[in-house]
């Protein structure tokens, strides 16, 4: 520890920042930048010295070089987090050691900086970690009522092993600034997972802004993400704050990230690197403090291989992956979710339902559920709306499920085949109609052909199921 920094510590109420860096000139430079920003800093040049300083100083923010002469920085960080879990560790590494930095993020690091980085990036990372102005992570967690525990993430019903692993992962990743990449089939609850990560994080009191990259026209997406200035394009009648700015201090959830146009991927990458946004038509960038969570129902690596998704952006985002299990892989969760939904919908509709008959439960367990939880909830809603109450029997099930009854587990899978009765769409019937109307006709015809299965229709139409669900929802509102 340098005596000068130690002497500075008592004058500030906040615990000093611990800087561990073995290259003296870099140590001198970083310490100077931090000190010039009015921060108390203590320094160490080896892992042993760093651990001693960590013990004695009470530091809650550590800037840690990953390559140290006496010990791997990752191991040192893990020891520190075990000792004081509310510590924010910013790891610093050279480009060639990025894999190590990613491992560090997965192990609980708050953020990583790739050398060389400038003064702005260093101070921004420190500010994000609570070193400038913001409350410390631990303090936020103790005091904020908005912060949930993983156990009460009520969005996730189910006690299967698969969901227990999801709960554990959410609990461990929430405390970090690491970008979370959620994958899973449509309807598995990716957005709820993102909400749970946000709700369990020190940013829970901040905004959670969700943006569906597949549902917004590509030419408007940049404006939606970064905002625009009045007059920057036709229709920009006033300044508009983008999602990235609206999420300042909180979390930005980018759903269906693989649908993002290549040009915007480049801008997103720049945003991630600089943490600044430049609204369309603006000349000056604005600094924001945002945690990114993204999701897709596609295989992101496949999108990279096909050249549809930038590899560098993928690696920047794919820090902590969470894969949401399909409903069919969640065992008794299916019945648990159905029972809970039945109680909820029955209360909403004021009808006395009191459970599911065993054969209904058995059928539910055996089904493929291609639409996952969303499909199951729709089935339960359908039952509650169309019946007066009692115990749910197979006779109350929607027609398409009743057909499955008796056919066994493979019934829904067999429905992959198009329904032969669906009427073909005649070209004469669509010529001369507005494009939006034609689109709707084609989608509805495709849905009819696949017995109403949104995932299957989406696959044929080369759309994401979420996009299709939203279109259907919009039509029902119109």
């Amino acid at each position: 520890m340098t005596p000068a920094a130690a002497a500075a510590a008592p004058t500030t109420p906040r615990a000093p920042i611990l800087l561990i860096e073995d290259t003296p000139s870099l140590l001198l430079l970083y310490r100077t930048v931090l000190s010039n920003a009015g921060l108390a800093v203590i320094t160490a040049t080896t892992a042993t010295e760093g651990m001693d300083a960590f013990h004695s100083s009470g530091a809650r923010l550590v800037l840690l070089d990953m390559v140290l002469p006496d010990r791997n920085g990752l191991d040192l960080m893990q020891d520190m987090l075990q000792l004081r879990p509310d510590t924010n560790v910013i790891v610093m590494t050279a480009h060639g050691s990025i894999n190590m930095a990613v491992d560090a993020m997965r192990a609980g690091a708050h953020e990583f900086l790739v050398k060389p980085f400038d003064e702005g990036k260093l101070l921004n990372a420190v500010a994000n970690a609570g070193g400038i102005g913001a409350p410390r992570r631990g303090a936020g967690r103790a005091g904020a009522t908005a912060v949930q525990t993983a156990a009460n993430s009520s969005a996730f019903i189910g006690s299967s092993d698969a969901m227990a692993r999801i709960h554990a992962k959410i609990a461990s990743v929430s405390r970090s600034m690491a970008t979370v990449f959620i994958t899973g089939e449509s309807g598995t609850g990716k957005e709820l997972c993102a909400l749970a990560v946000h709700g369990n994080s020190p940013r829970a009191a901040g905004p959670f802004i969700a943006l569906n990259c597949g549902a917004i026209p590509q030419d408007l997406l940049e404006s939606e993400v970064f905002g625009h200035m009045k007059g920057s394009f036709t229709g920009a009648i006033s300044d508009k704050q983008g999602a990235a700015t609206a999420a300042d201090g909180g979390t930005l959830f980018l759903d269906e990230i693989c649908e993002m146009a290549p040009a915007l991927q480049t801008k997103l990458l720049r945003f991630l690197q600089t943490t600044t946004v430049v609204p369309v038509g603006a000349t000056r960038p604005r600094k924001v403090n945002v945690r990114i969570i993204c999701a897709t129902n596609r295989d992101p690596m496949e999108a990279v291989r096909r050249g549809q998704f930038r590899e560098d952006l993928f690696y920047r985002l794919f820090v902590v992956p969470i894969h949401m299990p399909a409903l069919r892989d969640r065992g008794d969760d299916i019945v648990e979710i159905a029972q809970t939904a039945l109680t909820r919908f029955a209360n909403e509709e004021g009808k006395p339902f009191d459970g599911l008959q065993p054969d209904v439960q058995a059928l539910f367990r055996s089904m493929d559920w291609p639409g996952n939880v969303r499909q199951l909830l729709n089935v339960i809603r359908n039952i509650v709306v169309l019946h007066e109450g009692g115990t749910v029997t197979t006779a109350m099930l929607p027609d398409n499920l009743q057909h499955s009854f008796g056919a066994g587990a493979g019934a829904m899978t067999a429905a992959e085949a198009p329904q032969s009765g669906a009427a073909p769409l005649d070209l004469d019937a669509v010529l001369g109609r507005p494009l939006a109307e034609v689109e709707r006709m084609i989608i509805e015809a495709t849905l009819a052909r696949f017995n109403g299965s949104v995932p299957k229709a989406a696959r044929v139409l080369d759309l994401s199921p979420s996009t299709l669900y939203r279109k259907i929802e919009n039509w029902s509102k119109a």
């Binding site: 290259t23 930048v33 050279a94 060639g96 050398k115 060389p116």
Partner: protein
């Protein structure tokens, strides 16, 4: 293999910004310390080439690329980045790393000469 003139070894504007950021009280100390660190890394890096020691090559190229990037020594930064990548397992190849290591050593010489030019009284370590 190319040897850069000292004037081409560093982006002067970036180096000036670095010194301005450090402030007049620290600028001279920082310049001297960068020279000392680069010279020490150069020695350790060249020693790690024969016999080849991958761990030391990774560690020293890591130091050099961090330093080179900070001071605006772009050519050195590129060489050190490539050397660091070549020293990462798997796929380490001495036939690639050795010439890269020698080029990196020469590029350090150019940066040290620049630093000596910039700061009268600074004796570039050799």
């Amino acid at each position: 293999m190319t040897t850069l003139a000292p004037s081409a070894a560093i982006d002067t504007a970036q180096f000036d910004r670095l010194l301005a950021m450090a402030g007049p009280g620290v600028a001279a100390q920082l310049t001297a310390q960068v020279a000392v660190d680069l010279a020490a890394s150069q020695l350790a890096l060249l020693a790690a080439l024969d016999p080849i020691n991958w761990g030391n090559l990774r560690a020293q190229s890591h130091v050099v690329l961090g330093l080179a990037g900070v001071v605006g020594a772009q050519h050195l930064h590129q060489l050190a980045t490539r050397l660091n990548a070549a020293a990462q397992p798997p796929g380490q190849n001495a036939q690639i790393a050795t010439p890269l290591g020698l080029d990196t050593g020469r590029a350090i010489d150019a940066v040290l000469a620049y630093l000596a030019d910039r700061q009268p009284g600074l004796v570039a370590p050799t």
